[in-house]
């Protein structure tokens, strides 16, 4: 993983170090790589460069005519690149593939990034005044109505999630914001779209992360392999206005169910999770959609310290999108790298109780695409 910081180099070059590091970490020669699956969303808008999968491959120095594909599914891009790489291994076509994501958003003005990101939602709704901040405000209001929370209580409970993720991220040396915050600081931050405040939202980030996936036979010869127990992916309705209940995410629920069925475990068997807290209300939706908490209980989880690193289900120990940062097309790959390190006991951050099973979930657009992966360590 690259540090989540403003990158002086383009996204395809930013991917080089994480890729070589992942290959070294696997104890393999770069010539063993048989395919690249790369998540990236906005390079056409922010770097005026398309076709970046072969470009990244060339930048790494892998020139042996292997296939390379870029995946663009908004914020879920590298979660899905990971899953596609895994399916390639499962199919028997490949023994070793490189997967990951890369994004560079901070080389252009924030307005340009906002315009680029807006293209990930329905054009007619975008043109009719919907923005991502507004979408999350509708979601938060729907959740509050469903569970009888007034604005003040909703905002306070959400603030605890931001405080928790900053507490975690403060100890992660790769995080964009390595600093603690307080409930008061969150509540006093400017309103983005009521009831959502600026400190409820994650930043835009530059970053790149990579993993090597290998067949069981190859992996058994690699140091400290972590196993893929299950994956799931689903799509949701593209238009927001048509959804009967904005406080739930059917695509994420479906992807989660598929991943758990595939892994043959229940949510209670997960020891640590990295979830998509692009806005803190979405961490709540992830907690409930994936079965970690009952409906209406997820929002209290951080305030009750149940999702802290030393709690019953540690969530976003990396700092999550809010504190580690959100390099959109690379975020899913960061989550998977972090879970891998946590399972190996190698994560440089807040301490964990030796987790054996971890879950990563990323969601793109207005809940329109979701990828869930469950990893486990050996033994």
């Amino acid at each position: 993983m690259a540090p989540v910081a403003k990158s002086p180099v383009p996204s395809w070059e930013l991917f080089v170090d994480p890729a070589l590091s992942a290959i070294r970490d696997a104890g393999l020669d770069p010539s063993r790589i048989q395919a690249l699956h790369l998540g990236n969303v906005y390079s056409a808008f922010t770097e005026r460069q398309t076709n970046i999968a072969p470009l990244a491959l060339s930048s790494i120095g892998i020139r042996n005519n292997v296939p390379s594909v870029r995946y663009e599914t908004a914020c879920a891009s590298s979660g899905i690149a990971f899953r596609q790489g895994y399916l390639g291994i499962l199919s028997g076509l490949y023994d070793v593939v490189l997967v990951g994501g890369t994004e560079r958003l901070r080389a252009v003005p924030g307005v340009a990034v906002q315009q680029a990101m807006a293209t990930s939602m329905d054009a007619s709704e975008r043109n009719a005044g919907l923005t991502f901040a507004v979408y999350w405000a509708y979601v938060a209001k729907a959740y509050a109505r469903k569970h009888g929370l007034d604005d003040a209580r909703l905002q306070e409970l959400l603030a605890h999630i931001t405080v928790k993720n900053h507490h975690h991220g403060a100890a992660n040396m790769l995080a964009q914001f390595r600093k603690e915050t307080t409930v008061e600081e969150v509540l006093n931050s400017p309103v983005a779209a009521s009831p959502i405040k600026i400190m409820d939202c994650c930043p835009f980030s530059d970053g790149a992360a990579a993993l090597v996936l290998a067949s069981e036979e190859v992996a058994r010869g690699c140091p400290k392999p972590v196993w893929i127990a299950g994956t799931g992916q689903a799509s949701g309705p593209f238009t927001v206005a048509d959804r009967a209940d904005l406080s739930s995410n059917p695509a994420l629920e479906a992807a989660g169910k598929e991943a758990f069925r595939h892994a043959g475990i229940e949510p209670g068997a997960v020891d640590v999770a990295e979830l998509h807290d692009c806005v803190n209300i979405h961490e709540v939706m992830c907690l409930e959609a994936l079965g970690f908490f009952k409906e209406g209980e997820g929002i209290r989880s951080a305030g009750e310290r149940r999702t802290y690193h030393d709690g019953e289900i540690p969530v976003n120990v990396s700092g999550g999108l809010k504190s580690r940062g959100h390099p959109v097309g690379a975020t899913g790959a960061y989550q998977l790298c972090e879970i891998t390190q946590m399972l190996r006991g190698e994560f440089q951050g807040r301490s964990l109780k030796s987790p054996a099973t971890g879950l990563a979930a990323c969601v793109g657009g207005t809940g329109t695409v979701a990828a869930v992966s469950i990893l486990r360590r050996e033994g």
Binding site: S124, E125, R126, G129, L130, A192
Partner: protein
């Protein structure tokens, strides 16, 4: 605000499950089985929810602040639109009417029913 009320978003209803939606889809996006039939769109509706927008996106910057509204049209379709803050914040359940729709730019504006009578 006055505008062209002759243009309205197109809406369809599923022949199998009755689901209504804006836009043109050959098959129902909810049940996945039924054929969608185009239905008449009337300009009236009611606000289901709303969000005041402090930071308008680039395409709507000229408006300054506005309120995003989620409206159920009289034909059952749900659509997002823009309500200009001319007479205080809107309320859920409030009756509104399309004041302007630009099919090319897909900008959909609403105003309160009372405003319509006076325009």
């Amino acid at each position: 605000m006055t505008g062209d009320r002759r243009s309205l978003p197109s809406c369809g209803r599923c022949e199998a499950c009755g689901f209504t939606t804006a836009g043109s889809h050959p098959l129902c996006t909810r049940c996945g089985r039924g054929k969608m039939t185009r239905i008449e769109t009337t300009p009236g509706g009611r606000i289901l929810d709303f969000v005041p927008v402090t930071y308008p996106p680039e395409n709507l910057k000229a408006l300054g602040s506005y309120t995003s509204v989620l409206v159920e049209l009289e034909n059952g379709c749900h659509v997002f639109g823009i309500m200009l803050m001319e007479s205080g914040p809107p309320e859920a359940g409030q009756s509104v009417i399309v004041s302007k729709y630009d099919p090319e730019r897909q900008e959909l504006f609403f105003e309160g029913r009372s405003a319509e009578k006076g325009s």
